[in-house]
C-alpha cells in the first residue's frame, strides 16, 4: 500500500493508503477526500479532480500529457504544479506523495 497525503485549502490534511495501479483520483474518492469531484469518472474529460502536486514530488509525478494540458484549460487557478489526479498512477515510487486540493473545482 502506498501513502498519499491530501492537504485541503484550510490546511487540514488527510493521509490515505492506496493500492498501486489506482489513480490518485480513485484513492481520493475511495477515501472520501473532500474537494475531488471527478465528474467524468476518470476519463480525462473534465477538470474536476484538479490538484497541486507538492514541489518535492513534481519530478516523480511527471508532467501532464498533451490531452491533460488541454483539460487543465478548463480548471481554475491552474499553476505550474497543477495536475489532474485521475492521470497520476500510484506506484511505490510515489509512496508519501503530497498533493493540495484547490479551493474550487469547476
Amino acid at each position: 500500500m502506498t501513502k498519499i497525503t491530501f492537504i485541503q485549502p484550510d490546511g487540514e490534511s488527510q493521509t490515505v493508503e492506496a493500492e498501486n495501479g489506482l489513480t490518485v483520483m480513485e484513492a481520493a474518492k475511495l477515501n472520501d477526500v473532500p474537494g475531488i469531484e471527478a465528474e467524468c469518472g476518470g476519463a480525462c474529460a473534465c477538470a474536476t479532480c484538479h490538484v497541486y502536486v507538492d514541489e518535492s514530488w513534481r519530478e516523480k509525478t511527471g508532467k501532464p500529457s498533451e490531452m491533460e494540458e488541454d483539460m487543465l484549460d478548463f480548471a481554475f487557478d491552474v499553476r505550474e504544479e497543477s495536475r489532474l489526479s485521475c492521470q497520476i498512477k500510484i506506484s511505490d515510487a510515489l509512496d508519501g506523495l503530497v498533493v493540495r486540493v484547490p479551493a474550487k473545482q469547476f
Partner: protein, 353 residues
C-alpha cells in the same frame, strides 16, 4: 412549473407537435428508449441540448473504449451511438437538437405539454427523462459575483456580432470557441484581449495562426494568465483583474466571454415537481416511473435503491419503462410479451420481414 396543477388544454397551434412519447436526452439510454417504445408501437420525439446524438458518450469520450456493454467486448462512445442510431432507424424517431425542454405541465386530458428554449411545443402522452448527468451548460468560472454580470456583460455565447461593436472585450480560453470569437470580433470590438493560461492553444492551428497575426498587427492583445477578479456595478463590467507571470494587471473591459467548456446541470428538470434524491429523480424499479404518473426517468438521471450508473442498466430500465408506458398510451390494448427472434409482428416493425 408543477406538473400536479392541471392546466387547461393548450390552444392547438400548427407548431404543436403531438406524439406518444417525448424522450429528453439523446444519450444511449434515450436512444434505446426509442427502440423499446417503438417495438410497442409508440412514436417518439427526442430532444437534446447538444447538436448531435450520443450525450456524454460523444461529448465527453467519443474515442474511449467502453468494455461493459453486453456482447460488445470493446466499443467506443461514438461507435455505440452510431450502432444505436442504426438500431432505432426502423422507428423513425424525430430529433430536436440544440434545444432544451424548459417547461412541462399536465393538461386536463392527462397529456403533457412541453416547451423548449427554442420555441418548440409538444403534446405527449408520456415523458421519458433520459437526461444523464443533466443538460450540458457552459462552465461558469468561479469568480466572485460573476452571476450578477451574466447576460449583461458576461456572455457564454454571442448571438449578434454587432452587440460587441465598440466594446472593450475580454475573451478567456484557448479552444475553438475562444479563438473563433477572437477572430470574429477583432475588428468589431474597440479593444480585444484574449486571455489564456498558457501560450499553447487547443483550437484549430489555422485559427491560432490568424490570431497570432492579429496580435502581431496589434488588433488583439494576447495575455498569458488568468482572470482573478471582476469589477463593475449593476451587472456592467468596468474591468477585470488578470494575473500573469509578471503580477496582476487591471484591464478595462465592458464585455467578457469566458469559454471553459461545458458541464452538466440538472437544469429545469428540478422545477417540475418530481421527487428527487440528491439531485437525481426517484423512480420505482417496476416501471421506472417518477412520482408523477406518465413521467418516467431512465439512465444516469434516476435513483432507486441499488442504482448503478451503467449504460447496461439504463437499457434494462428502458425496456421496463416501455411496458408501463404502453398501458398509458394504449389503455385498452392488451400487451403480449414477444421475442424479436420469433414474433413476426415485431420483425415487421423492425423491417426485417
Amino acid at each position: 412549473m408543477n406538473v400536479t396543477t392541471a392546466a387547461p388544454d393548450a390552444p392547438k397551434s400548427s407548431e404543436m407537435i403531438e406524439t406518444d412519447a417525448i424522450v429528453i436526452g439523446a444519450g444511449p439510454c434515450g436512444l434505446f428508449a426509442v427502440f423499446e417504445l417503438g417495438l410497442l408501437d409508440m412514436k417518439a420525439h427526442v430532444v437534446d441540448i447538444l447538436d448531435r446524438p450520443g450525450g456524454q458518450c460523444t461529448e465527453l469520450y467519443p474515442e474511449k473504449p467502453i468494455y461493459d456493454v453486453p456482447a460488445l467486448p470493446t466499443v467506443t462512445g461514438q461507435e455505440l451511438t452510431d450502432r444505436l442510431m442504426e438500431q432505432i432507424k426502423p422507428f423513425g424517431p424525430q430529433f430536436h437538437f440544440n434545444e432544451r425542454i424548459d417547461t412541462l405541465s399536465r393538461q386536463a386530458d392527462g397529456r403533457f405539454r412541453l416547451t423548449t428554449d427554442g420555441g418548440s411545443e409538444f403534446l405527449a402522452k408520456v415523458v421519458v427523462i433520459a437526461a444523464g448527468g443533466g443538460s450540458f451548460t457552459p462552465k461558469r468560472p468561479p469568480l466572485a459575483g460573476i452571476e450578477t454580470y451574466e447576460g449583461k456583460s458576461v456572455f457564454y455565447s454571442v448571438r449578434k456580432i454587432e452587440s460587441m461593436r465598440g466594446k472593450d472585450v475580454v475573451i478567456v480560453g484557448g479552444g475553438d470557441s475562444a479563438l473563433d470569437w477572437t477572430l470574429n470580433l477583432a475588428h468589431v470590438a474597440k479593444s480585444l484581449t484574449l486571455v489564456h493560461r498558457r501560450d499553447e492553444f487547443r483550437a484549430a492551428p489555422h485559427s491560432v495562426e490568424k490570431m497570432r497575426a492579429l496580435v502581431e498587427e496589434a488588433s488583439v492583445r494576447l495575455m498569458i494568465g488568468q482572470v482573478t477578479e471582476l469589477e463593475g456595478a449593476n451587472g456592467e463590467l468596468s474591468a477585470v483583474l488578470i494575473k500573469t507571470a509578471n503580477g496582476s494587471e487591471r484591464v478595462p473591459c465592458n464585455a467578457m466571454l469566458p469559454f471553459f467548456g461545458l458541464t452538466m446541470k440538472l437544469g429545469p428538470v428540478a422545477d417540475w415537481g418530481l421527487n428527487l434524491h440528491e439531485n437525481l429523480i426517484k423512480v420505482d424499479t417496476e416501471r421506472f416511473e417518477t412520482s408523477e404518473k406518465g413521467i418516467f426517468a431512465i439512465g444516469d438521471i434516476n435513483w432507486y435503491p441499488g442504482k448503478l450508473k451503467l449504460i447496461l442498466s439504463g437499457f434494462h430500465e428502458a425496456a421496463l419503462m416501455a411496458q408501463a408506458a404502453h398501458r398509458i398510451v394504449y389503455p385498452d390494448k392488451k400487451l403480449m410479451f414477444q421475442y424479436t427472434t420469433s414474433s413476426s409482428s415485431l420483425q415487421k416493425k423492425l423491417g426485417v420481414k
